[in-house]
């Protein structure tokens, strides 16, 4: 675990600072927000200690966390995302990330090893060929970005629940955490990890997953917003600890279910 938690190369310091700065609204708006927050939040957080000390940001964090719970309750593990015909696939399917396309990680497929850790029986790492030898499934589903736009993509890969079974994962654990080559990461809830459409994607449009869509492996989950679908995935951990994620740690809603 410590190996995976250390600072990762490839994260642009300037972008990081820009991200952090965006978390802070300007002072005037901040004051206004705080006023409006106490007005709004008070009305339905009666009994809470908001009056004493909580700032608007903290109140919003709490409500966002409450919304995680609501979303987990709304999540039906058997409800499938609608699928589409091949003709509906968005062309060109958009590249998206917090860096420009030409700065996307370049992972060497030859030396690639997918590391599996945490609450699993078999911690062996996997080569790309070994992953390709597992049963493959194809899905044409809609990816919905937190920004609002959506695009239909054509993904093929290994069902994550099948993989978890093969490595002897403790599926009573709460979370699955993914680590990506560029330092991106995600933690998802176990019910979503076990959803039949949650996939370790190795192909797009029946071709080897191109670099811009996350070579060598993306985790595709149509039941979550796009940013919860990590690309360039190099490691996975089954865990009872929420290890957070790139955007989640910066203020985006954790569950982000659809």
């Amino acid at each position: 675990m410590p190996r995976l938690r250390k600072a990762v190369p490839g994260v642009d310091a300037k972008l990081l600072i820009k991200d952090a700065a965006r978390l802070m609204p300007d002072p005037a708006r901040r004051a206004f927000l705080r006023g409006a927050a106490s007005l709004g939040a008070l009305a339905f957080l009666t009994g809470c200690d908001i009056v004493d000390s909580l700032s608007a940001e903290n109140a919003l964090r709490k409500i966002s966390h409450f919304n995680d719970g609501v979303q987990a309750l709304l999540f039906n593990p058997n409800k499938l995302a609608p699928t589409y015909p091949e003709s509906a696939v968005t062309k060109p399917f958009p590249f998206n990330g917090y860096y420009p396309e030409d700065e996307a990680p370049e992972v060497d497929g030859e030396t690639y090893r997918f590391e599996v850790g945490g609450l699993v029986e078999n911690k062996k790492s996997w080569t790309l060929d070994e992953l390709r030898a597992l049963p493959q499934e194809r899905q044409i589903t809609r990816l919905i970005c937190v920004e609002g736009w959506s695009a239909i993509g054509d993904w093929t890969g290994v069902r994550l629940s099948e993989f978890l079974k093969r490595v002897g994962a403790d599926t009573r654990a709460k979370y699955v955490w993914f680590q990506c080559a560029e330092g991106y990461s995600n933690t998802i809830d176990m019910p979503t990890a076990l959803h039949p459409q949650t996939q370790m994607t190795l192909k797009f449009a029946n071709e080897v997953l191109p670099r811009k869509y996350g070579f060598p492996m993306k985790i595709r989950m149509p039941t979550k917003l796009g940013f919860k679908n990590p690309k360039y995935v190099i490691a996975m951990q089954v865990t009872n600890k929420d290890l957070g994620g790139y955007w989640e740690d910066r203020g985006y809603n954790w569950f982000s279910g659809l």
Partner: protein, 211 residues
């Protein structure tokens, strides 16, 4: 003058110099709704700006949230206030008979006549307890827009768990447009509503003090 002066027997018994126009529950839900709606609209504009449906964005200075994640937090916090308050308002409005008494019947002929009178400055606002046909249409319309904006919002928020609802709006992308135009309708109402309240300040007082 109308005989519609009170909403409940209890209020009718009050030794009022002026009759109660808006009972307390209407005033409370009205102002909570005002706060919730302004937060929803201003944070919604910020969310819209992240991926605009049309070739324009809203100036950041009139949005809430500071950035996309902040706006989403505000939107999904105020949604509880809006929905819980809206359910109380609609529930009491239907159960107590206020909607039926105040907003119905709505006759197209009366709407046209009253609209003409309003535009030529001859529509009376002497008795604030009785709504003219244009008011009835606007208030019913904005309640309907409120229902549509909540349902289309749910369709966008949960397009898989509530996919039947999303399909009803014509799919995820179509539901975004429905949500947007419901906002436009509500903002249009809001502008007119505030202008009218300022033109007839007694109506604003009635929504604060009840009389």
């Amino acid at each position: 003058m109308s005989t519609e002066t009170a909403d409940s027997p209890m209020i009718a018994r009050l030794p009022a110099e002026r009759a109660v126009i808006h009972p307390r529950w209407v005033r409370i839900t009205h102002w909570i709704n005002a706060v919730a709606m302004v937060v929803m609209i201003a944070s919604g504009w910020r969310i819209y700006n992240a991926s605009p449906l049309f070739p324009f964005v809203f100036p950041d200075s009139i949005t809430i949230g500071g950035w996309l994640a902040g706006a989403l937090d505000w939107h999904f916090a105020a949604m509880w206030l809006l929905v819980v308050n809206g359910l109380v308002y609609i529930g009491l409005g239907i159960a107590g008979g206020r909607f039926r008494r105040k907003l119905l019947p709505l006759r197209p002929g009366e709407v046209i006549a009253d609209a003409r009178a309003a535009l030529t400055g001859r529509l009376s606002h002497v008795d604030l307890s009785v709504y003219n046909a244009v008011q009835k249409l606007l208030y019913l319309g904005v309640i309907l827009a409120g229902v549509v904006i909540v349902l289309s919002g749910l369709a966008i928020w949960k397009p898989i768990q509530l996919q039947e609802l999303t399909a009803l709006f014509g799919g995820y992308e179509a539901a975004r447009y429905v949500h947007f135009f419901a906002m436009v309708t509500i903002v249009g109402f809001l502008v007119l509503h505030v202008v009218m309240a300022l033109l007839v300040p007694r109506s604003l007082r009635a929504m604060i003090t009840g009389r």
